[in-house]
Amino acid sequence: MAHRILSLNRIVRGPSFYRRHLEAVRVIRQSPRIAIGLSMVLVFLLVAVLAPWISPYDPIKINLRAKYTSPSATYWLGTDNVGRDVLSRLIWGTRVSLATAVLSIVFAVIMGGLIGVAAGFFGGKLDTLLCGFIDILLALPAFILAIILMGVLGRGFMSMIFSIGIGMAPRIARLVRGSTLVVKEREFVEAARSIGYGDWRIICRHILPHCLTPVVVYSTVLLGSAVMLEAGLSFLGLGMAPPTPSWGQMVTEGAAVMRTIPWIVTTAGSLIVILVLAFNLLGDGLRDHLDPSLRGEKFRE
């Protein structure tokens, strides 16, 4: 009897705030991948936020008298071709990588979410049109699309968010459209409609909350790809405009002198690998835990 009341209580009121947070703790304890990935991401986040205070030198200050110095007590990781401190540039580069990845995915979720919901919910001609558009964008790998857009828009932070976001948006759109199509047919949507709710309210109150879990999981998986895309674009000279420090660009700069001073290439590249690894661990962990149905989508760019 007590059990029945408890479960009834749960149905009526839903999980409490406290219980929801307990759930998060339980998930982290059960899945080492989520725990490791999350802590790694948090460390990067901390470094990015604290960059002005923890970086020993100004990352863009040129000092031609100290160019290409080896790692020493003064410059822990040495200096680059114009005497800028490598460590400081790496620390500030964390900001670029994190901000580009997160904001481009946010942009992709907003764009893709709108397109996906509109296509799935309203159907008909609009669906055909939007799906055609999605298919065209999906006819190119995201990286190739980003290369072209960066070439046209020119280097810079906003162009990069836009270029990477556009590549990711059709993938989110397809996911949201699929979820919308399923949720749309459920009884509670019919019930909501029968008591006179409008489209807008149904979308906001009933459709979107149901798309949330798959979108959050998939976005986390895509974050790793976004870091890779940003690094690749910067490596090709199609990323941030100099002198803003970015890891991919530091790999290019370091590659020119790799034979004699390998530490610029190795450190900048290792950081890219570790950040991508962190997002991948977190994304894979979340996916296996919350939404195993997304498995096949695992490495879709």
């Binding site: 065209i136 690749g232 790799m258 034979r259 695992k298 760019e301």
Partner: protein, 314 residues
């Protein structure tokens, strides 16, 4: 089946037309002037005007669109702004290079990835499995360009085993293959890791199924079980993952060609983008789009062949 194939092939020109339109619009409507970029800041207004006329950039965008499209029907992709050579010729000259690199990486990484995945699945939750999983988790996190540089650093600079450049003028097959090793490894590792992980999980899943127990009970050898029953059934997700990730391979080719200074379609595209060479960008992008769409079609056909339960067309 044939009807389905024809329908899909029929969609190809429609998608390509859409792709061409989108790319054309991106290149013409968005800010940025190729002629100014090409001639530089010192060019006189007359020189810029002459060049615009020469490349037909003075005409309205709609006219340019129709003209370019008409040219493509005749198999001409226009002339490069920079080299003035026909785009088709430019692409065809380097296409074999790219195809060889991409195929080498695809084959090597699929075979090695499947082997590693099967090994891991057979020893699931044991040391071999952990080693494969750790390496493949790391493998999907390493950018192609950085791996390429590290391979050059170790195997070219330190050990001196392989050349720095990923292409050679020496005509012998051995020299060609020798130069191809590092680019293939750089491009293939990520793909191999993806395939290994997928193979591991799908083979492990199949090995747990009832029919495998039946086969085992009949006394079939372990080798027969794996080769004939487990692998064949596990092929569908593996083929899917290979198909889904051709995009990774294409993107990786661009980076590998840049790192190893290997002439190819990817390097052509990057150079064209950096020098605002629109006709070359259009040509390479259409080619990449076509390859990408056709690969997806091949993957869908492979499904039907591997799993008779799947009927195409429905």
């Amino acid at each position: 089946m044939l009807g389905y194939l024809l329908k899909r092939l029929g969609q190809l020109p429609v998608t390509l037309l859409g792709l061409f339109t989108v790319i054309f619009l991106i290149l013409r409507v968005m800010p940025g002037d190729p002629v100014a970029a090409y001639l530089g800041d010192v060019a006189s207004p007359e020189a810029i005007r002459d060049m615009r006329i020469q490349f037909g950039l003075d005409k309205p965008v709609a006219v340019q669109y129709v003209e370019t499209l008409w040219g493509m029907f005749k198999g001409e992709l226009g002339r490069s702004f920079v080299s003035r050579r026909p785009v088709t010729e430019t692409i065809m000259a380097v296409l074999p290079n790219t195809a060889i690199l991409a195929l080498a990486a695809l084959v090597a990484s699929s075979v090695l990835g499947m082997l590693a995945g099967i090994l891991a699945a057979l020893r699931i939750n044991r040391l071999t499995d952990y080693v494969v999983m750790i390496f493949s988790t790391l493998g999907v996190s390493i950018p192609v360009f950085w791996l390429g540089l590290m391979l050059i650093f170790v195997f070219s600079y330190k050990v001196g085993l392989f050349p720095v450049a990923g292409v050679t003028t020496q005509p012998t097959l051995l020299a060609q293959v020798h130069a191809l090793v590092l680019p293939t490894a750089a491009l293939g590792l990520l793909f191999m890791s993806v395939v290994a992980r997928m193979t591991r999980s799908s083979v492990a899943e199949i090995l747990n199924m009832d029919f495998i127990r039946t086969v085992r009970a009949k006394g079939a050898s372990e080798r027969l079980i794996i080769m004939k029953h487990a692998l064949r059934n596990a092929m569908i997700p593996i083929v899917t993952v290979i198909g889904i990730n051709t995009g990774l391979l294409i993107a990786g080719t661009v980076l590998a060609e840049t790192v190893f200074v290997r002439p190819g379609v990817g390097k052509l595209l990057v150079d064209a983008v950096l020098s605002s060479d629109y006709p070359v960008v259009q040509g390479t992008v259409l080619l990449i789009g076509m390859v990408y769409i056709l690969t997806n079609l091949v993957v869908d056909l492979l499904y039907a062949w591997l799993d008779p339960r799947i009927t195409l067309g429905g």
